[in-house]
Amino acid sequence: MASETPVVASPAAASPRRRPRRVGERLSPRRYAATAVATFVVLIAVWWAATAFGLVDPLFLPGPDAVVAKLIAQAQNGQLWSDIAVSVYRIFVGFLLATVMALPLGVLMGANAHAEAALEPLIDFVRYMPVVAFVPLTILWVGTDDAQKFLIIWIGTFFQQVLLIADAVRQVPVSFVQLGETLGMGRAGILMRIVFPSALPRIWDAMRICLGWAWTWLVVAELVAATSGMGYRIMTAQRFFATDTIIGYVLVLGLLGLVFDQVMRAAGRRMFRHQRAAS
């Protein structure tokens, strides 16, 4: 994240009168990182102080030390890892199914006006149906095992991905298509060799964003009906007033989402480094 900001030369306090920062001016990577860390430190300090001085009932909000201790205990007895493993597996399968199906359909919709007219209004409509409302229906359809989790993740990400991928394909410059035509390429060749690779960086971004949403849908599905996974653990913790477990798991979920996002971001930067620099 920090390495993405352009390097701004910061004169080492040599100039007596510093020019005021311009609107929209970026920070140096170091200052950016320091500022970001400070926010977290302040927030955790406030949290800690509120609990340490008895301002809130620890039953409802345990202190950061208690949460971390609980997480460590669960990591040691293996429960945390098995919960993460189950949830990651569900995300992986559900998201992969959605992506594999969304790719051809999205590319088709982006490249073909008839496909767009036939499918885009429909998908736009389905997209606005609340995913959560499908949870009871999916339970009736496929039961409460993994298949239902896959289905919820699929419903939550497939339609969004189709639209984002179609949009990525539409952003490909017309001149690229014209180039293919003047080289005597057929429509299929232009689609596969020019349009698709050209749209790929944006498609990758679409996948990255949708993967973030997939976590939300997974936890929703696990909260309602599951016998394992992160959401299930949070649900059972509520019954025993184990707020430390709930907060710990919520933090881990946030962390997992962040890690996945950063990994995909870094992979995208690596794969498309020439493409991004050009556009």
Binding site: Q178, L183, G184, P197, S198, H274, Q275, A278, S279
Partner: protein
């Protein structure tokens, strides 16, 4: 990807094959009564023009005179509402490998190197991988990009990108080359460099070129003939044969004919604009 036009594999850089089917009297490109409308605007009105084999013709005029539209129609990327275009005696209905196009923006595929971009155009030829690589190298060297084969478009300057685009268009040896303000986005110094390069390449290759520009001096310097167009509706105003010796170069700008031609063409454009 399949090549719609059957052509024998030959190394890039050799003299272009002359259109055997075309007799000496037939023009290489014939534009007959072409009209093109965009809604209420008539971009081209009954335009007639013929270009001889191996002739270098420039289309000049103010913006909106239809010069780029005419080029797109010859390329087959756009179709006329009325009239016909024939290239090498065949009616133009779609784009094809007999007509290479250099766009104003280099339109290089950003995920391919300079070498990769040229080889991409050679996919339609019956060449082995090694032949393709060698042909691409050779044509890149011709445009002065030896040593930059492995560079990505994002690592090249605007002028160098346009050199790659030119190399790409020359690589598969089309019968005619269509250039749409190819140096329009470049700074003055790079532009002069590219003009020299184009003169040099053309005088060696001798290929039919239609070149669109709004730079009158550029047109006079490079062309055999300058076609002056006027806007609203787009029409051909005049055709000016350029009486400058070849080989041309910077010295050509010093010739009295150069100044005279540039002056005349500018006057024609202004005269029309004043009306």
């Amino acid at each position: 990807m399949t090549d719609s036009i059957d052509r024998s594999a030959a190394p890039a850089g050799a003299a272009p094959a002359s259109g055997g089917a075309v007799s000496a009297g037939t023009p290489k490109i014939a534009i007959d009564d072409v009209t093109r409308r965009f809604g209420e605007v008539t971009a081209l009105q009954q335009v007639n023009l013929s270009v001889a084999e191996n002739e270098f013709v420039s289309l000049v005029g103010t913006s909106g005179c239809g010069k780029s539209t005419l080029l797109s129609i010859i390329a087959g990327l756009d179709a006329p509402d009325e009239g016909t275009v024939t290239v090498s005696g065949r009616g133009v209905t779609e784009p094809g490998r007999d007509r290479g196009v250099v766009f104003q923006r280099a339109t290089l595929l950003p995920w391919l190197t300079a070498q990769g971009n040229v080889e991409f155009a050679l996919r339609g030829e019956r060449l082995s991988q090694a032949e393709r690589r060698d042909a691409a190298r050779e044509v890149l060297a011709q445009v002065g990009l030896e040593g930059f084969e492995g560079a990505y478009p994002s690592e090249l300057s605007g002028g160098m990108q346009q050199r790659v685009a030119l190399a790409r268009s020359l690589s598969y040896r089309p019968d005619i080359l269509l250039m749409d303000e190819p140096f329009g986005a470049l700074d003055a110094l790079t532009r002069a460099d590219m003009q020299r390069l184009l003169i040099d390449v053309w005088e060696r290759h001798r290929i039919t070129v239609v070149f669109v520009t709004h730079d009158i001096e550029e047109a006079v310097l490079i062309s055999d003939r300058v076609v002056v167009m006027s806007p609203r509706p787009g029409r051909i105003r005049a055709e000016v044969p350029i009486a400058l010796d070849r080989p041309r170069g910077e010295h050509s700008r010093e010739a009295p004919e150069f100044r005279a031609h540039a002056h005349d063409i500018l006057a024609m454009i202004h005269e029309r604009a004043a009306q």
